[in-house]
């Protein structure tokens, strides 16, 4: 499915996004590597109106204004509202998972359901986002980099700009205040972890269930940190099922008849 590039003015920023599909709106906030479409976006766009934002400072234009994650989340809420979305499904990847949680806490009325892909709201002590050459980044992102298309070359200026921005916004590895607030989150949450993730270890997954009242935890087998890119069918199947049926997504609809 072809995604269209567009821009929206919000909170004093001109924000780029990619969009495709029809159906219930699904807003995606990317990880610290910036906006990069993968096959999961295409699969999701068959069922949802996907709006994949590029958060301010992760593209051509610098962002020296946003001071912390709460401000970034407020900007992204305004960007969604500027597109006429007053209630939507929200999906956050890694760094963007943290942004999505802030958004859902700050503007609960906007978020219908929340999907967290390898969220970086709780990180292992001293954990750092993937960096370096495309090959080095691929080794951190994927369980099987050899099976994946090569990552694009990184513009060193943009890489530096993003590194400075994410260091400023990413917050502490464990944020006691954020974790306390998660207990008051009202939206249903699906937290998805790759069993081979070396950036955000899947062993942290249960903490989201410990903290969030209405949370589900799902492991995608043999996926690294970039779950949606590495196992798009497995990721999208559970995400779209959850967004469609919420809690009832645990009831199987798989048919097992072999020979009628």
């Amino acid at each position: 499915m072809a995604f269209n590039e567009a821009w929206v003015e919000a909170d004093g920023f001109r924000i780029r996004y990619q969009t495709a599909g029809e159906g219930p709106p699904l807003v995606h906030l990317h990880g610290a590597g910036g906006l990069r479409l993968n096959p999961a976006h295409d699969l999701l766009a068959r069922q949802f109106r996907v709006i994949a934002f590029e958060m301010p400072g992760f593209g051509a234009e610098e962002n020296q204004r946003t001071r912390d994650m709460a401000e970034l989340a407020a900007t992204m809420a305004k960007a969604a509202q500027a597109l006429g979305l007053d209630r939507f499904n929200l999906m956050g990847t890694s760094f963007g998972g943290r942004t999505a949680l802030f958004l859902a806490l700050q503007s609960p009325e906007l978020v219908r359901a929340l999907v967290l892909e390898a969220p970086a709201a709780i990180r292992p002590a001293g954990g750092q986002p993937p960096s370096g050459s495309p090959e080095a980044i691929a080794r951190r992102l994927y369980a099987h980099p050899e099976r994946m298309p090569p990552l694009p070359k990184v513009d060193p200026r943009l890489a530096m700009q993003i590194a400075v921005l994410t260091q400023r916004l990413r917050g502490p590895d464990r944020d006691a205040d954020l974790e306390a607030r998660l207990r008051g989150l009202t939206a249903p949450v699906l937290a998805v972890f790759g069993t081979r993730d070396s950036v955000i270890p899947p062993e942290l997954g249960h903490l989201y269930k410990d903290l969030i009242p209405d949370a589900h935890l799902v492991f995608v087998y043999d996926a690294g940190h970039a779950i949606a890119a590495e196992r798009p069918e497995a990721f999208v199947e559970v995400v779209s099922d959850f967004l469609e049926r919420e809690d009832a997504f645990v009831i199987s609809r798989v048919k097992t008849v072999i020979l009628p």
């Binding site: 249960h206 799902v218 492991f219 087998y221 043999d222 497995a234 990721f235 559970v238 009831i251």
Partner: protein, 358 residues
């Protein structure tokens, strides 16, 4: 060195049976079958008294060769009758199983048996894929995924969903959990690069079987190398070597017994099936391709009188690093239960005390 007794059931047919797999179940003799389970209790009680550390059970189907198609069920029966020895399930065939069910049953067993369970997770011999109509080309992937899911089911504190390639669950939350925490001593069973890699990555043991010491040493060497890569070092007890043994009072007597050892497996597949399976089922030892073993009798690694066998066990330890040998006691040419018990007693008295410091 620790020692495990491989309990095979020892079904003694009253009549001649055709040597085919699958064995027609109409040929089953219920009295002989009942003797199998009674005999297991007797033998395991005996090896417990002799000082063996473990007894092992394994999963095979559709023939009288090893009459424990469900190792957890056999272990539930046996652990309630023999009270001290550890029970090693080497192993349930993961590629056949619902991994969550297996995680539940093994946790039940460990709890009921007071923490005496040892778990080996197995891909299964080639013919076993026919048992439940599974594609042999998928067996390795199913095994790897199933093993990982079992470990997850034992250790995750919250209900979770699983988006696998071969298994999918939306809610997993097993009760009971194993008595031994975080889980019983667990081994990946196999000589392949994949088995070694899996075991190293998941910090579990490795069990190898039947090959020459030098060749099995390649598999365990690869495993240890990978463990080092993942930042840990396995103990000797995390390597099991399963083998057949023919023990007699003297070397000459053991050699005479060997003359009756068959070249062909007792319950062979038809030639067409065997050759088709050979093509479908890729096997390797630490990455070196090896054909699957189909229809060949398993080799004997330990053969001789007590002195010779002690030296062979020493050499096994040197070359494979194994800290546990799991022994299938063979008495070729005789189905005499007394001869079997005599071999066990001889091992307990003349070999076991001399290999503890190996």
């Amino acid at each position: 060195m620790k020692v495990s007794y491989f309990e095979t059931g020892r079904y003694q047919s009253p009549a001649d049976m055709p040597g085919v797999w699958p064995m027609p179940s109409g040929a089953y003799d219920s009295d002989a079958g009942s003797d199998v389970y009674r005999g297991m209790v007797e033998r395991i009680s005996f090896v417990e008294k002799l000082g063996f550390d473990w007894v092992s059970l394994s999963e095979h189907h559709y023939s009288p060769r090893i009459l424990t198609p469900s190792p957890p069920m056999a272990a539930a029966y046996l652990t309630s009758r023999v009270h001290k020895i550890k029970f090693a399930l080497l192993g349930p065939i993961v590629s056949h199983s619902n991994p969550v069910r297996l995680a539940e049953e093994l946790a039940m067993l460990d709890t009921m048996a007071g923490g005496r369970l040892v778990v080996g997770l197995l891909r299964g011999t080639t013919n076993e894929a026919l048992t439940y109509d599974l594609n042999p080309q998928e067996s390795r992937e199913r095994t790897d995924e199933g093993m990982e899911l079992i470990l997850k089911a034992w250790t995750e504190p919250q209900p979770f969903g699983w988006q696998g390639r071969h298994f999918r669950y939306r809610t997993v939350s097993v009760w009971p959990r194993p008595l031994q925490q975080p889980h019983p001593p667990t081994y990946a069973l196999g000589t392949s690069r994949e088995a070694g890699e899996f075991a190293a990555r998941n910090r579990i043991g490795l069990g190898v079987s039947y090959g020459p010491f030098e060749v099995m040493g390649k598999a365990t060497g690869y495993y240890r190398e990978r463990c080092a890569k993942f930042g840990w070092e396995p103990t000797a007890e995390q390597i099991i070597f399963r083998a057949n043994i023919v023990l007699a009072e003297t070397d000459a007597e053991a050699q005479r017994a060997m003359e009756a050892y068959p070249a062909r497996a007792p319950f062979a597949l038809g030639n067409g099936i065997a050759s088709a399976l050979l093509e479908l089922d890729s096997r390797n030892i630490a990455g070196e391709a090896r054909p699957a073993s189909i229809n060949r009798a398993l080799p004997i690694n330990f053969v001789g009188g007590p002195d010779t066998v002690v030296e062979q066990i020493r050499r096994c330890r040197e070359l494979t690093g194994a800290g546990i040998i799991d022994l299938g006691f063979n008495t070729p040419g005789t189905a005499d239960p007394k001869a079997h018990m005599a071999a066990l007693e001889l091992f307990g008295q003349k070999v076991l005390p001399r290999i503890r410091d190996i």
